[in-house]
């Protein structure tokens, strides 16, 4: 991922960047699905030593489902099934979903597919995205299999956008290869808040989420956890310092105010 120093760019480039920044200024936040619709293709990179990847994917999906505005006469709670696809290697590393530990809204709605190869998993994901009876599709693929190249991820993006079914693809122990995912996250577990009645016990789960690539949003880093109603996100202490404490400030604000580079 090459990063170009803005100082080396010619001046007109900043005008384009400014126009682009206006579109991208909507920083990601929980509940954004109410205005923009659900995130249709997200990739979450996580380690196989923890259950954080799939858990965060479920949290994102449930947050989107909660906030997506419903059409007239369709206000009933979404009881559609959820397709959960794992390769055998991924199931070996992080285990299979356990019904009693799933979020309450999803218990009894999970349909699980165990694929031997990454090709089969991609086939299952695409068929799931084409099916109108799935609320969302969750995939777990370990490593960087050859079948999961840019073309394959583009197929998934197009299928998901055509039929409006969100896809959350958890990449276990994978390098950040090429992908057409609309949002790409790096997820790691974070220390949980102490429960009120037993401070020694692990509390409600929290994850450190790094949005490192997104089509419609600026990159950023958050600590996700359960809020009063659904997903809550805080800026981590380090990132908040960097932004001067103003979380609402646009990512590109600093870029525009930068003085033009001095020419020799």
């Amino acid at each position: 991922m090459p990063h170009t120093d803005p100082a080396s760019l010619p001046i007109p480039a900043f005008a384009d960047v400014a126009a682009l920044s206006a579109q991208r200024s909507a920083r990601w936040r929980p509940g954004l699905a109410a205005q923009q619709g659900p995130a249709l293709h997200s990739e979450l990179f996580a380690s196989s030593r923890e259950g954080g990847g799939a858990a965060a994917a479920l949290a994102f999906a449930l947050d989107d489902i909660r906030h997506v505005p419903r059409a007239e006469g369709n206000e009933a709670r979404d009881r559609r099934s959820v397709l959960w696809v794992q390769t055998r290697e991924a199931a070996r590393r992080v285990g299979r979903p356990y019904r009693a530990g799933l979020p309450h809204a999803l218990q009894g709605r999970v349909i699980h597919v165990l694929a031997e190869k990454a090709e089969d998993a991609l086939f299952a994901l695409e068929e799931g995205l084409r099916c109108r009876d799935f609320a969302f599709v969750l995939g777990e693929i370990a490593g960087n299999p050859g079948a999961l190249d840019f073309t394959a991820s583009r197929r998934l993006t197009l299928a998901g956008e055509r039929h409006g079914v969100p896809l959350f693809l958890v990449r276990l122990d994978a390098a950040r290869d090429l992908s057409s995912a609309r949002m790409r996250w790096e997820i790691a577990s974070a220390p949980s808040p102490a429960p009120r009645w037993n401070p020694q016990a692990p509390g409600a789960p929290r994850w450190r989420a790094d949005l490192f690539r997104a089509r419609a949003h600026a990159p950023g880093e958050w600590v996700l956890g359960e809020g009063g109603d659904g997903l809550a996100a805080q800026r981590p202490a380090r990132a908040a310092d960097h932004d001067g404490g103003d979380t609402a400030a646009s990512w590109t604000a600093g870029l525009r105010q930068r003085p033009p580079p001095r020419r020799a």
């Binding site: 954080g52 299979r96 031997e116 109108r132 949980s192 016990a201």
Partner: protein, 524 residues
């Protein structure tokens, strides 16, 4: 029990095929050239017994010379010194008969072995495909003649009657109605009742030689004579009632309903995939029409391909929900036809919905709708099943057990959920459960407490926060006596990673040495 005809107005039609010289015919087919050399020699097939070789089957020439089935070879040799012998192969005959039974489904959707040398085919509602029952019998005779197998056959409303007619009446007898059976069979010998040899002997000694004779002495007398014989093969009254259709015979399928069935008999045997696809597409259309007429949808489909050389290839499909969409059927079958070996060609193709469920008339074309609105859940699961196999797609359902890995089972995705007790709210469970709990090496302050740090998959985790233990006792009604209890802890390490670990057993429980620690689940 008034018998089978109550279920449907039209009687069942059972075709019984008897191969009187199955062993000899098969021996000739297998041996080929060598058999032709022996064509006009008296040949017998023998098996070895404790008292020397015994004759299992004889050719007509050998029978004319005096050899009989069941005779010792030495006795036959005294009658006809020129007798030629070959070993018999009853297991091979049975396997061949099984093949034949499958092949004989070309005349009806259901067939059964009638060991050792017969077949039963249910031809109910089928003869019109062949132009009537007489022509059906002609077709059967022709097909068997092509394979050089001698047959005798009959069609009757019950399997017993058909068997009796095939064995003891003129070849090709057809009995139309239940009422005609008694008259048609009254002249047959009592052996036509499919009785054991000793019972036939008893009846002969009683002077009852023909089926008609049995009615003359009254049912009560026979009832008393055979009151201890419960097996149908030992009780002539049960056999007679089965033959007349008064008592259902468990040999037959109990469902007296018509299975949706379409077939194509091909003018030219096909050998290419493209043509086969076309035929299957036509059959799928026919099947859709057939199912629509009955207001049903197929859950299981069987595609049978009859090859010219007598092989039958069967491909089965099971669908998650009833459907009658031809495009969907075709799409599912397309993946299954890749590995078919057409050999010298396929002469007949048949599609059969062996399991159908009521399906109301509804929206027609799912495929084109799928492009715009997505597929339905059932169609999606069908596609996944065909590509990945049935066991790859499942759904977790709860099961009544305390042991965590046993409290969840995997079932088919669209099966109704079994009823279960609700989950206790204070039982915190992990999001993921490893396929098998992995052993971890621990370092602890006190042997009966939780660990300070542990090593899992080659990395050391510091335990920062912990909740537990939650003690789960072994299920004594399922496990051996030596099973140890488990103390579960929910822990969080220094980086915030949350796990579910347990200690198997406690020190001093008398069920083994120092307890081991395992990591079983990953928490959210």
């Amino acid at each position: 029990m008034s018998g089978a005809p109550a279920a449907s107005t039209a009687p069942r039609r059972i075709l019984s095929i008897w191969l009187p010289s199955l062993a000899i015919d098969r021996w000739r087919l297998v041996m080929g050239e060598q058999a032709r050399a022996l064509a006009d020699a008296p040949l017998v097939l023998i098996s070895d017994t404790a008292h020397g070789p015994r004759i299992e089957a004889v050719t007509q020439i050998a029978a004319a010379a005096g050899a009989q089935r069941g005779m010792m070879l030495a006795d036959a040799r005294t009658l006809c010194p020129a007798v030629a012998t070959a070993p018999s192969d009853p297991a091979g005959d049975l396997a061949f008969l099984e093949q034949l039974a499958l092949w004989a489904q070309r005349w009806g959707p259901w067939s059964a072995l009638d060991a050792p040398d017969g077949l039963l085919v249910d031809v109910t509602a089928v003869p019109h495909l062949f132009g009537g029952e007489t022509l059906l019998l002609e077709d059967v005779r022709e097909a068997f003649a092509r394979r050089r197998l001698a047959v005798r056959m009959a069609i009757a409303p019950t399997a017993g009657a058909a068997w009796a007619l095939a064995h003891h009446a003129p070849d090709g007898t057809i009995v139309e109605h239940h009422d005609d059976i008694e008259r048609a069979l009254s002249d047959l010998p009592v052996a036509a009742l499919r009785l054991d040899q000793d019972v036939v002997t008893v009846l002969r000694r009683l002077g009852l030689k023909r089926l008609g004779d049995i009615t003359t002495i009254g049912r009560d007398a026979l009832q008393r004579r055979f009151r201890n014989r419960k097996s149908p093969a030992a009780n002539p009254l049960i056999r007679r009632d089965q033959l007349l259709g008064r008592v259902p015979e468990p040999l037959l399928p109990v469902i007296a309903q018509q299975v949706p069935l379409v077939q194509r008999r091909l003018m030219e045997p096909i050998r290419h995939r493209q043509l086969l696809d076309q035929v299957v597409a036509d059959l799928a259309q026919d099947m859709a029409r057939e199912l629509e007429g009955q207001g049903q949808g197929a859950r299981r489909l069987e595609l049978g391909l009859w090859r010219v050389d007598g092989e039958v290839i069967v491909r089965r499909l099971e669908m998650a929900a009833a459907t009658r969409d031809p495009a969907h059927m075709l799409r599912l079958f397309a993946a299954r036809l890749d590995d078919i070996d057409a050999g010298f060609g396929i002469e007949m193709v048949r599609l059969r919905a062996s399991w159908a469920e009521p399906l109301a008339l509804a929206q027609g074309d799912i495929e084109s709708a799928a492009e715009d609105h997505g597929t339905s859940l059932a169609a999606c699961i069908d596609r996944l099943t065909v590509r990945l196999g049935a066991q790859a797609i499942s759904r977790p359902v709860p099961f009544a057990s305390h042991i965590p890995e046993r409290a969840q089972r995997w079932r088919k995705p669209l099966e109704p959920e079994p009823s279960s007790q609700g989950q206790l709210a204070f039982h915190a469970r992990p999001l993921k459960l490893l396929d098998s709990a992995e052993k971890i090496a621990v370092l602890y302050a006190t042997p009966d407490g939780y660990p300070q740090r542990f090593r899992w998959r080659g990395e050391v985790h510091e335990v920062v926060r912990v909740e537990g233990p939650e003690r789960i006792a072994p299920e004594w009604w399922r496990e051996r006596g030596g099973a140890r209890l488990r103390d579960y802890y929910r822990i969080e390490d220094g980086q915030g990673r949350r796990y579910w670990i347990y200690r198997q057993g406690i020190i001093g429980d008398g069920r083994g040495g120092a307890p081991d620690w395992y990591l079983q689940g990953l928490c959210a």
